[in-house]
């Protein structure tokens, strides 16, 4: 059973967000993942980011594919509708749901297997459409749920638990997403909530496709010596290029940042992301620069993290389609029915 009721105890001292809710209100069922699994930490970060933004809990829709990672939507936001779809097919469900109701916050959770092998096609095309959603890849380099086979994200030379060495090149979701036209690409580490939470907040508020690749070690099948996705390896090679802070609309930026050092980017709802460069050569607003930096760092075995690419100017799917602002599900039938007179008119062409 992976749906165990968590007792909803209210801790009197827990801080409240603007809606008067505690972080507990954003949680879900009890996780049944292995103790120490990176995915659970990401669940925690999602809860914290959602709570921190004071978004009503039922205004999210949580979608996933199949895998250990894809089980996690059951473990956060219990008051949101969730849909655990087929292996690799979450992007199409998200596209459909978003087509019907453009007003929700869509969180898609996927695995590296789910997105980069069986679901590579759908992943790529959701990016191309600039579908307005947050797409999280919980990246552990293996298929956890089917017991540890290499995924397409496994690095060349990385060693499996039983000693087998991966000889194929890895697909890097970040540089791939940028080349496919993604408008928000970030990478973080499940072990670094301080970095991950603001990234998620920014991703939720980005208008368009926000891809967040989170290195998330699989303690059971890929946390050993010789693996390039273990906790130890990830910590040792963690290389923040850009640190991001999320600033809600009401807050004044100037009070907190010196000019020049920080680069504020305004999101469509008026909130801002302040990007602080750690790597002075890295420019997250320049596609070519971002990709070449990523490729260079990947080759050097570094795990570049932060908001790696950002473009707030691109239209999302509905803007391209020129869909009505009202979610389609809220348009009454009386407005959708062209009526019998129109039918008669249409048929005059078929005589």
């Amino acid at each position: 059973m992976s749906f165990i009721k968590k007792p909803a105890v209210r801790h009197p001292k827990l801080p409240l967000n603007e809606l008067g809710l505690t972080v507990r209100d954003y949680e879900g069922g009890m996780s049944t993942l292995c103790a120490g699994c990176g995915h659970d930490a990401i669940t925690g970060a999602i809860v914290e980011a959602a709570w921190g933004l004071s978004i009503p809990t039922h205004r999210f829709a949580k979608l996933s594919g199949i895998g250990c990672s894809s089980k996690t939507p059951a473990y956060f936001l219990r008051d949101s509708h969730g849909l655990n779809s087929c292996h690799g097919r979450m992007p199409s469900i998200a596209t459909g749901a978003n087509s019907a109701n453009r007003d929700l916050y869509y969180i898609g959770v996927s695995g590296d297997g789910d997105s980069l092998s069986i679901g590579m096609g759908q992943f790529a095309h959701a990016i191309r459409r600039n579908l307005n959603m947050t797409y999280i890849i919980e990246n552990n380099g293996v298929y956890g749920l089917t017991k540890g086979q290499f995924s397409a994200a496994a690095d060349r030379g990385s060693k499996a638990k039983k000693g087998e060495v991966n000889l194929q090149p890895a697909i890097d979701p970040c540089s791939t997403a940028i080349t496919l036209g993604a408008t928000f690409v970030a990478r973080s580490f499940s072990g670094d909530k301080a970095q991950l939470v603001p990234i998620l907040k920014a991703a939720f508020n980005h208008r368009g496709f926000a891809m967040v690749d989170v290195i998330s070690p699989c303690v059971t099948f890929n946390d050993h010596e010789g693996s390039t996705r273990s906790y130890k390896y990830s910590r040792d090679h963690f290389a923040p290029a850009i640190m991001a802070d999320f600033v809600p609309p009401a807050e004044d930026i100037k009070a907190r940042y010196e000019e020049g050092e920080a680069m504020p980017v305004e999101l469509h709802d008026g909130s801002r992301i302040v990007l602080r460069k750690i790597d002075k050569d890295y420019d997250p607003t320049d596609r070519v620069n971002a990709v070449s930096n990523l490729m260079r760092n990947n080759d050097a075995g570094e795990i570049t993290t932060g908001i790696l690419y950002l473009d707030e100017s691109q239209p999302e799917m509905h803007e391209v389609n020129n869909t009505t602002a009202t979610p389609l599900i809220d348009i009454p039938y009386s407005k959708l029915n062209p009526g019998n007179d129109m039918l008669r008119k249409i048929q005059s062409r078929y005589r």
């Binding site: 059973m1 992976s2 749906f3 009503p56 809990t57 039922h58 205004r59 829709a61 979608l63 939507p73 059951a74 219990r78 008051d79 949101s80 509708h81 969730g82 849909l83 655990n84 779809s85 087929c86 097919r89 992007p91 199409s92 469900i93 596209t95 459909g96 749901a97 978003n98 087509s99 019907a100 109701n101 007003d103 929700l104 096609g121 759908q122 790529a124 095309h125 459409r129 799917m317 509905h318 389609n321 020129n322 869909t323 009505t324 389609l328 599900i329 348009i331 039938y333 407005k335 959708l336 029915n337 062209p338 009526g339 019998n340 129109m342 039918l343 249409i346 048929q347 078929y350 005589r351």
Partner: protein, 602 residues
């Protein structure tokens, strides 16, 4: 069948695809239709863009017999490559028109038909300066020749040309000239008209000429569909084209240009089905059209929709064969694949329109059923219905129609609930209420294709799992109450019955008319849905002998009848037509004769 006569004949035109013959052929058919004569146009085209043989067949029938006739009374042989075959196809006593600009091989002769040479290219070369016009106008010239041979009303042709080329004056002039050239040449050089001609009638009044895909796309607009996802595939593509065209016409805000619909061209059919499920789950009416290979790709998601109980509408415009098969030929060979698409104990509600009129109305039925039953509904049309030009009763829309959204609890109703459980069968009809994302925190639930119990929670418990799939089976029984009843033509005198489906309808009815004239009375039932309505069992019980007429090799409809009904296999005699061409009445008549003769001999 019978000899051609006034308003009862079949014309076939053999062309090369990509030479612009479609508009001339359409003109010939529309002229007959506007003269009041029932007519059907069937296009036999290659899966190719240019250079391969293509045929257009027009049957006129005052009696209203609009299946493929299976005979050719007048052939226009414009394709040298298929000339021999086209010549052979003309019924004895018939006519063949060819372009006599170039000499014809003297072996290509037949004594039992009349061969008419018309210098089509020569006339065009002399009268049209540019090369493209010379090719295109040849088609219009033969239309003019036919007008003389069949005694068409020239005013009707003129009106049609004026309407078609209202905004293209130069094309209007060229077309009018070409018609006149053909007509006058034929009057001067041939014995006109032929013994069978077209005569003004009133039998097409109150009708339109439309193909099933256009009608289905229009039906989806009237049904209130707002989301369409698709991946192009013949012969279903024109369904989404039609939906898009009618949405652009009727669903755009005239001021802002904003659309009250969202059409997504998916990356493949797996995604198209996922999008439909996602949109339906979120609360929209969503659909996808596809054909053969697309249905195979959609299987996994169809099973998901069945098990997670998400409405979806799929138009499967069937084409011919396993694998890629013959994409531009027709068949009814996805019946079983659609009924049980996906692994596990999965079964789907199917609807079978028989013509474009039914395609239009079936669209809203499909959405109503999908939402009422919370399950994918597959509409099985086929290439013959979907892409050919049928004469159909004028469509009507009742402006009092309200979509049946089924059991959907919106925010205000959810707010009143103590607790919401997604799969709890509160009404004992095996259908549980659903809620929509974003409406209310109390309505939240988790949708999954993995084992779940009646509260919507994950389970691997044997009893809990069984409870859910048993309810799904009970829902199948509920579905029988909602699905459309079959069409039945019954007389207590008759002990033999024909059961058919979809586009077999016209040919079966014509066959039964012919048999009745020969003194053989046979009753008729046309299936409109799966699960079968109770009337099907009754019809089976009421007859001693039954023929099941369908367009596939493996007797797929019979297969479903054997699985679902109480009937001995021997009672159902197979009449199977599966060469990719539409069924003819002759085929059915011959099969029944052969079977009855067998009985007499024994």
């Amino acid at each position: 069948m019978n000899k051609p006569s006034v308003n009862e004949f079949t014309i076939k035109i053999a062309n090369v695809n990509g030479t612009g013959s479609a508009s001339a052929n359409g003109l010939i058919m529309k002229t007959l239709f506007r003269m009041g004569i029932p007519v059907v146009g069937k296009n036999y085209f290659p899966s190719n863009i240019q250079g391969l043989p293509t045929w257009y067949e027009i049957r006129a029938s005052e009696k209203g017999h609009l299946a493929r006739s299976g005979r050719v009374d007048l052939m226009v042989a414009m394709n040298a490559e298929t000339y021999k075959q086209d010549l052979a196809e003309v019924a004895s006593g018939g006519y063949l028109v060819y372009d006599s600009t170039w000499p014809r091989h003297n072996l290509l002769q037949r004594d039992d038909i009349t061969i008419i040479g018309v210098p089509l290219s020569k006339m065009c070369n002399e009268n049209f300066p540019n090369a493209r016009a010379r090719i295109l106008m040849k088609n219009v010239v033969y239309a003019g020749v036919l007008a003389a041979l069949l005694d068409f009303d020239l005013d009707v042709i003129t009106t049609l040309l004026n309407e078609t080329f209202a905004k293209k004056a130069h094309l209007l002039d060229a077309n009018q000239l070409a018609i006149r050239m053909g007509y006058e040449w034929a009057q001067a050089n041939l014995e006109t008209p032929l013994p069978f001609t077209a005569r003004t009638s009133d039998k097409s009044n109150g009708h339109i000429i439309i193909d099933g895909n256009t009608a289905a796309g229009l039906g989806a607009v009237y049904a209130g569909a707002t989301v369409g996802a698709w991946y192009p595939i013949t012969p279903s593509t024109s369904l989404m084209d039609a939906f898009k065209r009618f949405c652009e016409m009727t669903r755009k805000d005239p001021e802002t240009g904003e659309s009250n619909y969202c059409i997504v061209q998916a990356e493949d059919e797996l995604a198209a089905m996922g999008m439909v499920l996602g949109a339906s789950w979120a609360g929209a009416r969503a659909f996808t059209p596809t054909s053969g290979p697309g249905v195979s790709l959609m299987s996994e998601f169809l099973g998901y929709g069945y098990f997670a109980e998400i409405p979806a509408v799929l138009f499967n415009v069937q084409r011919c064969g396993p694998s890629t098969g013959m994409p531009t030929r027709t068949q009814q060979s996805d019946i079983v694949a659609s009924a049980f698409a996906s692994h596990g104990d999965t079964r789907h509600v199917l609807l079978f329109p028989a013509n474009p009129e039914e395609c239009f109305y079936t669209a809203s039925t499909a959405f109503d059923l999908a939402e009422r039953l919370q399950t994918p509904v597959i509409v099985l049309s086929d290439l013959d219905i979907g892409m050919n030009d049928w004469m159909t009763k004028e469509l009507q829309w009742s402006d009092t129609y309200q979509p049946d959204r089924g059991k959907v609890l919106r925010a205000d109703e959810v707010a009143k609930l103590d607790k919401f459980h997604r799969y709890l069968d509160a009404d004992q009809d095996a259908i549980a209420a659903r809620t929509l994302p974003g409406d209310h925190p109390k309505g939240a639930y988790f949708t999954r294709g993995s084992g779940h119990n009646m509260y919507g929670a994950y389970t691997e418990n044997a009893d809990e799992y069984k409870e859910v799939v048993d309810r799904l089976r009970a829902k199948w029984e509920t579905a029988k109450k909602y699905v459309p009843a079959p069409e039945v033509v019954y007389s207590a005198k008759n002990s033999i019955g024909v059961i058919s489906i979809g586009s077999c309808d016209e040919a079966c009815k014509e066959a039964l008319d012919a048999l009745r004239e020969q003194g053989i009375g046979i009753n008729y039932l046309r299936i409109k849905s799966f699960p079968f309505n109770g009337e099907v069992q009754k019809f089976i019980d009421d007859h001693e002998k039954l023929y099941v007429v369908e367009q596939n090799r493996d007797a797929q409809l019979k297969c479903l009848l054997c699985i679902e009904c109480d009937v001995a296999d021997e009672k159902l005699n197979e009449i199977l037509h599966y060469n990719g061409l539409p069924l003819t009445a002759n085929f059915v008549v011959d099969a029944i004769h052969a079977d009855l003769a067998k009985g007499e001999a024994a």
